[in-house]
Symmetry: D2
Subunit: 310 residues, 4 copies
């Protein structure tokens, strides 16, 4: 299997196609739709084991919603994007459970680390109803679906596998379906916090990574798990790797190595690289994931240093 | 002049030396000191116009304090780093003003953008005294120096040049010296929020950048301006550019272009690149500077989308 | 003059009327308007010195916009309230300056203290234009008004009187009018962050308080100052004082002192008081203003205490 | 049983004693200790059913640590308070479990509501070890105790009883003891975020309140539950009620009702009340618990209103 370094089925399909110079992949069906100039929806369907092997994703449906110019989004665009997401999600829900079946929404991630905080932030806004249906039924429409929501935290701050926490909760409250919100890695900078992947296969960490995070899926929890994944990071190594690939390709194609290399070295490649990296007016920076903590520490140093010197 | 893409005099000196294969640069004196295993201090002194031209920095002293393993810093290390900063700062202050002269501390940057929030956060912790000396002198040691502090905000959110705001304040409160805290760009990822540059030359934005930010210095404000600069970002283009340079150099040195290029393309460079980019156990990511805003927008989409679908 | 303990002209007028059992006050004209079931607008006009003396507010117009059930406000209600505010503000602006005259918006308060953070938060959202008109005129409608915005901080963290900071800025950028956003004290808990007072008289701290905050008004800054004040606190002493007044009145009216007092003491007044204090489904609490700081300190104690004991 | 309106055993004991004019209460032993001028420790031991009935607290030990002038605490005082807490906690732990037994730390409360955010904030700082012992035993001392930590959220945002969440987790990770951090109500404003109550009885919501929060204790979870409770709120109704009681008492004692009432009404009680309410240089305010949400809504109104009017 390729080391795709992206969790998006759509990006993986495109990488696989390009690498193998294929138009079609056996076991993978795709479909694209332009909703309007700023929203597009793609569907990748993995239909057999060949498709699974090709892109390293389980059999199932992967819907990708891309939101363009999303950082300038006003309330109308946010509402429109919500409508599309709601429509896609509803379809998947209806194919798995009945109208009044219990749903548990799970927001993975760490509220204290900005690029990892999306899951917990979403949970805070979910309209939960189970406790109202249970304790104050007179205040709620009798056809309401019981909804619960939880942010279980991350292994590094709880010391507990997320799966262990969820298992216990599922045993106790017995939802019929779980929606998991998770941060993904993407290969494309303009997908950061601008793309949503909906998958009906749960969350299955890649085989090659060697960590111990356990699969969160119907296999492990006993009920269907719908994953909403949003890319929030691109690794800097991915970025550099992609640039090297481009350069090597260029060198080979043009077959003019030595003189060309000298020229390349003479001229400043920075502006060209910058153009490549900033396709959509983002001002890209490389930061350590611990930037918030580092800034707090440094704030203490500088404030104390100044105070003591005055 | 080189396009150094770093605001640190120390990095610029090293780049210039390496590019010109020089041991010494006329007009630049340097000096290094290891304080302990985690703290080192370097001094770059630009002494004449040749030095100014070489590294694009005004005549003056640039002290760089490097803090290693700073993300794991405990309170003792933070205190030690503060002591060093205080010592260096005191020396500079004493060479410019008298013991009871007024000082204004200015924190540049935007409190709402994490990597740009250091200046305003420091200002919040400065022990200001001028108002106590003025209105409640009985509550303060009569030898106290009047200290004031302000975060003037950034042009994009105020619509006003920082220099214009500071001019007005300086005219009204007439400090004898200004300390400015600013976020810098660095070329080295492990300097992010782990290095402090103290310069007695104020803040002089690079000529080549073409923006209209005006110099904040004795020239424009009439009193000495000490700049405390802390690197908080590295551009991803810088990173990729550096990697390309390394590759080209390697290709030339080894003079085995075509076969080698094929090999390079076959094998996966990712792990090697990752090693190069993660020299000090940072988990590096590439994020748009607007990450916080993008996350807020996306949170709304996902929460609304889920709520509407349930 | 009464010690009204409210900054709202409307509440002062009502207190004065009730205390003096007056229907009309010479020098004060009032007018009420119900915009819809959730928004009402009142206008208090102070027309002569008698009115000034009566309610301790300068000659001028004080418009109060009351937003009911505002904690449950959805986006539509927020937009509707914004429309009303915009309409009232526009009228006042048009009576003072021309269409393209410069405006400076000032957000008073401390971003780090929740109940005092409204001003700085608003400033962060103001669409500033002056720098675009100045540096990038091609990107903006040529009829745009130059708008600037600043959060000058508070005396306790800057050491500088707000007026001194504003004077300097006004001298440099020469706006034709200033809009100041400020937190007010109110007597009524259900007005907290649910009422806006617009006054064309600037901000004039009460004579009786004895602090040194200087007036921010046309007198001191030379251009008209429109104040937008939002109540964010009620003092607990005000609350208790009001309750005592009610009790004393009741005791006198009913003229049945001793037996009644015994009864009062026997029965639990708590539920009755709670009803009085929670008129609009708020869950009221009494907190020290420094609650955020206290919580940070306590967090350190508890986390360290637990960590050391494990 | 009294409606004490405080969760502190110490305050309840004092209220009961005063109300019944008792020196000693059968079934309750107390002990006070001044650690230094800023820290005192009190122990209340409920030893039989009479004691339980008297103060409405289960048989067990309740240790109260009071921190004076805590809002001005520097790092040394915070460390000292942590030491005391650690010492008290260690004693209780050693009486219940062995050195290497698993502990689960639970932080109750809502991270998004300032006065309710202490529990989740503490959890973020706990040194969890279970996952390191399990997955990376080579990196940790082999005598380390497995520690886990979780913030389960609140019923209003999860829709799930905290007890149900904890049950599931306890079933899966089988800790030998649980430490629960919770916000309490107190009667005394100067105890807000300045007092810690340690109880070996778990958390048992008062019978009279009629809510459905279920007991978190050895009874329901099968392992000992140590509760660390920190007062973060005082209800305004409690405050007013206390003041009325004082007034009524005064009126009765002095037996001079009518003339006195008139005098009372004439003079301004505000300053006296303010003195009573501000015993320890706190600047007390009354806020709705939803203050943060109200401020966000109001920020939108004011920013939009201004933007549209300019």
């Amino acid at each position: 299997m390729y080391n795709f370094r992206t969790d998006l089925a759509l990006e993986r399909t495109n990488i696989y196609r390009k690498a193998n110079k294929l138009e079609e992949i056996d076991g993978i069906e795709t479909e694209d739709e332009e909703v309007d100039e700023n929203i597009s929806v793609s569907r990748v369907k993995v239909t057999n084991e060949n498709g699974e092997r090709a892109i390293g994703k389980k059999k199932g449906v992967y819907v990708t919603i891309d939101l363009k110019k999303f950082k300038f989004a006003d309330d109308d665009q946010i509402q429109k994007a919500s409508d599309i997401l709601s429509k896609e999600l509803k379809e998947i829900l209806e194919s798995h459970i009945a109208k009044k079946d219990d749903i548990l929404v799970v927001g993975l991630g760490n509220i204290y680390v900005t690029p990892d905080s999306l899951g917990p932030k979403v949970i805070n806004e979910i309209d939960v109803t189970r406790h109202i249906i249970k304790y104050l039924p007179q205040y709620i429409d009798e056809n309401s679906r019981p909804v619960t929501a939880i942010s279980p935290g991350v292994l590094g701050t709880t010391g507990i596998e997320t799966l262990e926490i969820l298992k216990g909760i599922v045993d106790n409250i017995k939802p019929k379906l779980i929606i998991v919100i998770d941060a993904l890695a993407s290969r494309s900078i303009d997908r950061i916090s601008s793309t949503i992947q909906i998958a009906d296969t749960g969350i299955i960490p890649g085989a090659g990574i060697g960590n111990t995070r356990k699969e969160i899926s119907q296999n492990t929890l006993g009920v269907p798990v719908i994953a909403l994944g949003i890319p929030t990071v691109v690794e800097s190594a991915v970025l550099v790797n992609d640039c090297l690939d481009l350069l090597i390709e260029k060198l080979q194609n043009e077959a003019k190595s030595n003189v060309f290399l000298n020229q390349l070295k003479e001229k400043d490649n920075y502006e060209g690289i910058k153009d490549v990296l900033n396709p959509q007016d983002y001002n890209m920076i490389v930061t350590p994931k611990e930037i918030d903590e580092l800034i707090e520490n440094m704030k203490d140093v500088v404030a104390r240093g100044i105070n003591m010197s005055l």
